[in-house]
């Protein structure tokens, strides 16, 4: 169907019906100071060729640096089959189709995605994806308040070592819905949740404990003990996990005696390119007992009138188009296209491929950490084991060192000064399977030179 804009006559007629002289009148209640007077900063349109030339030029201006930045978004190899499958016409949409059951192929893919994510996280059910890891934590907090009916406090414990963006988004989107968030400190020696962080909370009404594994500082948490502590105190456990890490680490469904209650995270490592920060997708899985409190869409397998297998959206009564203001969330569509990429990625990699990616990433990071900490002025900040990311303390300001590394075509990591000023000159670095032995050695040489340059300056 073509897009047909309103004609001037249409507009005049509509204005006459509502008794308003002009469209401008409709905007009068917005204070003048808030309104953009002109769009002079927006350039005229360019041809496709001109856009290609401009963007190629800009991409070249960045050089082709090796990226050692992780911090929630990770560079992994994406097999070519992932995006050639996802961009097929049958799949190429961000949306769950409006006549969902007419698109059996899309529903089957979502069903397979849900099955793989439930299996990967050790949980029983998955939704059809959320926006990203940050909103997934916010949604999980809201869900925990609905699901934990014994708790009346709506108190959620968020570690300071949770991804800072996840904390910000969760506070911004859930604080005004009656939830109370409390920050748990990390231990400055180990990087884990501080042992004393929970002891003061005995006997109090806590709705949920959020545990990120590994945490934003790269460090492995004692997830079993933390999960058991939460359950002993009547709190639910929200696990925030990196899906690649689950090929090696214990899945949230097996944490402690009873397992985590909700598992969430960012699906970006599964087939989604870094691409200037997105789009990515969030995932959420849970136990069957909480399924009616889970936001988002769920695809189920069923049989039709003739007994043939088919797929259908299920448990829709809790969603906004039916339950209106009392819906479990306002998520109606999802990151369908990115979720599709994740599904194809998981299918292509299989359990063995995932294990190899995870093991190679972990080994590369350890190798990188060893080479870098052999350099004077670089040491490990925390004593505890990591997965594929580690905090290093430098004896010079991180921003200057990163700038010197960038001149040597190395994106050296994330400067933690802004997020964790208490750590001083701290740098978060990551190496995945995409970095070769030569890349890592090149980084170490560049670090030696960069530190020398910064000291000389």
């Amino acid at each position: 169907m073509p897009f047909i804009p309103h004609t001037d006559d249409d507009v005049r007629e509509m204005l006459a019906v509502i008794g308003v002289p002009s469209i401008e009148t409709l905007f009068e209640e917005i204070p003048a100071g808030l309104r953009v007077q002109s769009l002079a900063e927006v350039p005229e349109g360019l041809s496709e060729l001109e856009v290609m030339q401009l963007m190629t030029e800009r991409a070249h201006a960045d050089g082709r640096p090796k990226c050692f930045i992780g911090a929630g978004a990770y560079e992994h190899h994406i097999p070519a089959a992932v995006w050639s499958t996802v961009t097929r016409g049958e799949f190429y949409s961000a949306y769950t189709p409006y006549q969902a059951e007419a698109s059996q192929g899309t529903l089957q893919t979502i069903y397979e995605y849900q099955t793989m994510m439930a299996s990967l996280t050790g949980m029983q059910v998955s939704n059809a994806s959320l926006y990203d890891g940050a909103t997934a934590v916010a949604e999980a907090s809201l869900m925990a308040v609905r699901a934990n009916r014994r708790s009346k406090s709506a108190r959620i414990l968020l570690p300071r070592s949770l991804h800072p963006h996840y904390r910000d988004v969760t506070l911004a989107s859930a604080s005004n819905q009656g939830l109370k968030f409390e920050e748990l400190p990390y231990d400055r020696a180990t990087g884990q949740l501080a042992p004393g962080a929970l002891s003061g909370l005995d006997g109090q009404d806590i709705t949920a404990l959020v545990i990120q594994q590994p945490n934003f500082l790269g460090v492995m948490e004692e997830v079993d003990a933390l999960t058991d502590w939460a359950h002993a105190h009547g709190a639910l456990v929200v696990a925030v996990v990196n899906p690649i890490s689950l090929a090696l680490l214990k899945p949230p469904g097996q944490w402690g005696a009873k397992g985590a209650d909700i598992a969430v995270g960012d699906g970006q490592p599964l087939g989604c390119p870094l691409s200037s920060g997105g789009p990515y997708f969030g995932f959420m899985t849970t136990r069957m007992e909480h399924v009616r409190q889970m936001p988002g869409r769920i695809v189920g397998r069923t049989v039709d009138l003739d007994g043939r297998p088919g797929f259908t959206l299920t448990l829709q009564a809790r969603e906004q188009h039916i339950r209106r203001a009392k819906a479990t969330s306002n998520i109606c569509t999802n990151q369908g296209l990115l979720m599709m990429a994740g599904t194809v990625y998981l299918s292509l990699m299989g359990a063995e491929g995932m294990e190899r990616v995870a093991a190679a990433s972990m080994a590369r990071t350890e190798q990188l950490a060893q080479l870098l900490t052999a350099i004077g002025g670089v040491r490990r900040t925390f004593s505890h084991p990591v997965f594929h990311e580690i905090v290093l303390s430098l004896d010079r300001p991180v921003a200057a060192v990163l700038a010197a590394l960038a001149e040597r075509d190395i994106q050296g990591g994330l400067d933690l000064t802004e997020y964790y000023p208490e750590l001083g000159n701290a740098l978060l670095v990551c190496a995945t399977e995409t970095k070769s032995q030569l890349d890592i050695e090149a980084y170490a040489r560049a670090m030696t030179e960069a530190l020398r340059a910064v000291r000389a300056a």
Binding site: R292, A317, R318, I322, R323, K326
Partner: protein, 129 residues
């Protein structure tokens, strides 16, 4: 034509109320309401001991096509819930005034402001019209 027993009281929001011999009241949803919802697949029950005001949403009945709140027809405390509904929500479809009861309340005061069967019949007729 739905079944509206004359020995019960009703709320405009389609709950029925039966006064028990111990002074407590039993609450469920009307035959008309269960028929309008269709096959029930889930009932979310309130916690025993919860204090409710008249008109509070305290349970959810969910069918394949809708989820509706059940409102307390009177103020009081929840003293019992029908646990059987957790496994067999269809009891509400099969026997809305009997085995499909939802909760029992110890009322705070008199059960004023409710409808007789004849008055509720009008409400049901209107919502069907």
């Amino acid at each position: 034509m739905s079944n509206i027993p004359t020995d019960l009281k009703y709320a405009r929001t389609h709950e029925w109320l039966r006064t028990l011999s111990d002074g407590n009241v039993e609450v469920g949803i009307s035959d008309h309401a269960q028929a309008a919802l269709g096959d029930l697949v889930f009932v979310q029950l309130p916690d025993v001991g919860r204090a409710v005001a008249a008109g509070d949403a305290c349970a959810v009945v969910e069918s394949v096509k809708a989820a509706s709140d059940l409102y307390a027809p009177v103020a009081g405390h929840v003293v019992a819930i029908n646990e059987a509904l957790s496994k067999e929500p269809e009891l509400i479809n099969q026997d809305p005034y009997g085995r499909g009861w939802v909760m029992r309340l110890k009322p705070d005061g008199a059960t004023a402001g409710l409808l007789s069967a004849a008055d509720y019949q009008k409400v049901a007729d209107e919502s069907e019209g």
